[in-house]
């Protein structure tokens, strides 16, 4: 009765959307770097994508139930990896986030994000009630809180923040009660000053420069200003491929990675943004649709965890590019250059495929 899923069962629409986003990303990485010392970066990104696609297919062949079976061990392994990276990890760009794997540096926290998606899905799938009890909510919070603290230690505020929407979306779908939600919001607001106290100076600076950009004309205020100039000067039609002055002359900060949307918006204009954001909307809605058609709650939670993570990435990154949110260093999924981030997205999609492939099987 157990039939191996065939090629027809893959979500080809989803793959097509991913392919389109990857293409945009590679094209814009090429445009942003071809004339500089970073030339050739787009080919490295293509390699990461190919590796990601292979991993995605591999992961999709494993039954997600089997993976979720191992959730406690994955969780422990994840925590240990985080501790290890703090102890022996590589420091790059002022943060200890990397461990060397096969000659490349991988960010452990990307892998941990994946693990937390699985662990949370397993946890919420085990909740049998329609309404999420306070007790379970606190348990879920602690489950996320532990790795979150370790990631903050690196420090990597961006990745740490991504864990929050996973928790919130999971709790919401598990039947979060409105009164609990209200209490969390109030608590969260009360906790803000405490959180401020624990922030690193550069993080504080990013927040202040977001709130008062005119006071910080160079630093991160400068970055956001240059990004806004790039986006705004692109106009409706854009300046054309390879013609964005902000991009080509290096005014956009990390134009091939965190601010790639800025480079894209400058060269392709609002019409290009419409295409890119349209693709992301299609991607996210398609993910939700996959969740809706999941065979069981476990699969649904898994897919929605991925959706929450990717949605948060898109929101925070794009909002940063247009100066609507502070600079956090969260990449734009599949457009920003980056090995670990690309692999994370494909592995996450692999989980989604996994769920989809098994929606009719029993």
């Amino acid at each position: 009765m157990k039939e191996a899923p065939g090629a027809r069962d893959y979500d080809w629409w989803l793959l097509a959307i991913l392919a389109a986003i990857c293409t945009i990303g590679v094209v814009e990485i090429y445009s942003a770097t071809h004339g500089s010392a970073l030339a050739g970066m787009h080919m490295k990104q293509v390699r990461w994508i190919l590796v990601g696609v292979v991993l995605m297919f591999v992961l999709s062949r494993l039954d997600y139930h089997a993976i979720m079976d191992q959730a406690p061990w994955l969780y422990i392994a994840g925590l240990m990896a985080l501790i290890a990276v703090l102890a022996v990890g590589h420091t790059r760009f002022g943060a200890k986030r990397w461990i060397p794997v096969l000659g490349e540096f991988l960010q452990v926290s990307e892998l941990v994000k994946l693990i937390i998606i699985i662990v949370l899905a397993r946890f919420f799938a085990e909740v049998r009630t329609d309404e999420l009890s306070l007790q379970d909510l606190i348990k879920a919070g602690l489950l996320v809180g532990l790795p979150l603290v370790l990631i903050l230690k690196q420090p990597d505020l961006g990745t740490a923040l991504v864990l929050m929407p996973m928790l919130i979306v999971g709790a919401f779908l598990a039947g979060l009660q409105w009164k609990h939600a209200a209490v969390i919001v109030v608590l969260g607001i009360l906790m803000l000053p405490v959180g401020w106290h624990f922030m690193k100076p550069y993080q504080k600076e990013r927040v202040t420069s977001f709130l008062h950009p005119e006071e910080d004309a160079k630093g991160s205020g400068y970055q956001v200003l240059q990004s806004k100039i790039a986006v705004g000067s692109g106009g409706f039609w854009g300046k054309g491929f390879g013609n964005g002055s902000q991009n080509q002359l290096g005014y956009i900060p990390v134009r091939y990675s965190d601010f790639i949307m800025s480079a894209w918006a400058e060269e392709q204009g609002f019409k290009g943004v419409l295409v890119a954001l349209g693709l992301y909307m299609a991607l996210l809605l398609r993910l939700v649709q996959n969740a809706q058609r999941a065979k069981d709650r476990a699969g649904m939670f898994l897919v929605m965890g991925v959706t929450a993570a990717l949605g948060f990435h898109v929101l925070v990154n794009v909002a940063m590019v247009i100066g609507a949110m502070p600079v956090t260093g969260i990449p734009l999924p599949l457009m920003s250059y980056g090995g670990s981030a690309t692999l994370f997205v494909f592995l996450a999609i692999g989980l989604v495929m996994n769920v989809r492939l098994r929606r009719f099987v029993n």
Binding site: H65, M68, D69, R122, A125, E126, R128, V169, F172, L173, A174, G175, A217, K218, Q226, K228, I229, A230, V231, G232, S233, G234, G235, F236, S245, Q246, L249, G250, Y251, A265, G269, F270, V273, L274, L277, Y280, M281, L284, L285, V288, A291, Q292, A294, K295, D296, R297, A298, M300, M304, T307, G311, V314, L315, V318, A319, I322, A324
Partner: protein, 642 residues
Amino acid sequence: MSYWFRNDSRLPQVRLAAASYVIVGMLTILLLGFWKLQVVDSDKYGQLAERNRVRSIPIIAPRGRMLDRDGRVLVDNYPSFSVLLLRDDQEQVEKNLPAIAEGLGLSLDDLKDQLDNTKALPKFQPIVIKPEATPADVAFIESHRADVPLLEMLMVHRRRYLPGGFMSHASGYVGEVSEQQIEASNGKLRPGDIAGKSGLERQYNDLLVGTDGMRRVIVNSVGKEMGRLSQQEAIPGKQIQLTIDYDLQQVAETGLGDKKGAVVALDPRTGEVLAFASHPAPDPNDFAVRVSKEEWQRLNEDPDRPLLNRVTQAQIAPGSVFKIIMATAMLESKTPPENFTAFCPGYGIFYGQMHKCWVYGKSSHGSVSLHEAIVRSCDVFFYNVGMRMGIGTISRYAKMLGLGEKTGIDMPAEEPGLVPTEEWVERVYHHKWYPGSTISVAIGQGSVMVTPLQVAYVIGGIASEGDFKQPHMLKDAPSVGEKHVELSEHTVEEVTRGMFGVVNEPGGTGNAIKLQGIEFCGKSGTAQMMSYSAASRLGLGKGKNDGWFVGYAPRRNPEIVVAAVVQDTAEHGGTAAGPVVRDIVKAYYDKKNKKNQGQITAENKGYELKNETRQVAEVAKVVAKPEEAAVVVPTGEKKSDP
């Protein structure tokens, strides 16, 4: 499957649907954000991007050159680089300042001072921190573009003047415009612009300045030039040709040498200024880059007043030169009549006070007529004339002939001199005119004051039968002012005969400097800076004099008139200033004769002139060093028997 797994397919479809709406809402809001930036505010950001990308670098227009009357280069330009500091980014500037100071060999404190002083200027406007970059500076800037992206070089044209202060009071000098000049220019001048500060540089600034061009270049985020957008060429300033004759100027400069004084040579037929020298003369090449505060203060406080243009600004007593005005007035007003003679025992007593003649104690003039009084410069004769004429007539004729008012030469800040009148004394000193004062005025002492230019102008005008041409320095001047003073033929004849006698008759005060074959005429003057008695009371002996000589040739309707004054000299005017005048007049005739001969062999002339042009231009190219002033020696022979 393990114990935890339950085939639970109750999915929270409502909440999943809600998630879809959240996604759509979220992306719509982001899209609206892009709409705001890219469609609503697109123009504003477009301009900001342009401002990022495009930097406008001025191309400084070269100032017009100054040529002498034969086309030889007197004032030229040479290219040089200024180092600009871009100040948009205060933090970067402060961080890099020590490295910049070290790299360019500047003092950090000076640099900081300069930044403080320019705080009021807009931030995007770069300031010049080093006006003349050395090759090492250029190398420093080029090699540190990436880590010190705050420096930029600007090609400028600097003024090159002939070395040693040659003609420097006539040419003037340029400098950075002052606040007042910027205000007066109606927005034409900006801070840091170069403009004429004195002399012809200032007078003809509007002609000499060109229009700066602009180069628009693309720069990357570290300020490196990546490409050129457009270039609007600079329009060079107009070249001006002066009436100055380089050869005569040369003679005037060497003639004055290190004496304090002034020489001016005019062509009274046209008003053209042929030579114009005032010593001491600062070398304007020293200010062409930037003059230090100390140097400037030193020049201003120097008791010899090197910044004073003595040709047009020194107002000094004319001494006996004034006797020509007295003689003209006497002949015209017939007060006293022409046959008036006076007896000179070496002094005279007027209004109860003894006035000495200049020969007092050595000899006396005896009985003198007007002609003898001019030739031998008898003071007593003119005391008597003055007493009979009265200050009213004296001042009327002095003013009529052009004293007491500016000649109108095309030079900034000319002084008018002073012709005293009864009204003037009442207005300034609040007392009646003392008739005794008239006696001093009659020999060009007392409160009468003239400039060397006025002396040349007035004597030239009288010798030209009352035709006065406004002195001017610009050749082919569009309009030259002129005035005619009605003088009788007899007056002109008698006065010029007197001045001819001064040089050419035995016993004439200028007899030592007569010139063979030239109708060289003139009048000496020795203005005491204090009275003989005061000087002897102070034990100063003869005291210090301003020695005058004004000479011209030929006797009637002269072609050249030269006035020279040597200040603080112990010598008589004929001895101190006479030879300077004589050498110029002689050089004028030597050149004229040479030219006349040259015209016979016409093809020679053009070649020779071209050669000379090159020579002067080459001299001008020599970087100004004081000792090289000696390189510029007059080419004309200097043999002249006294």
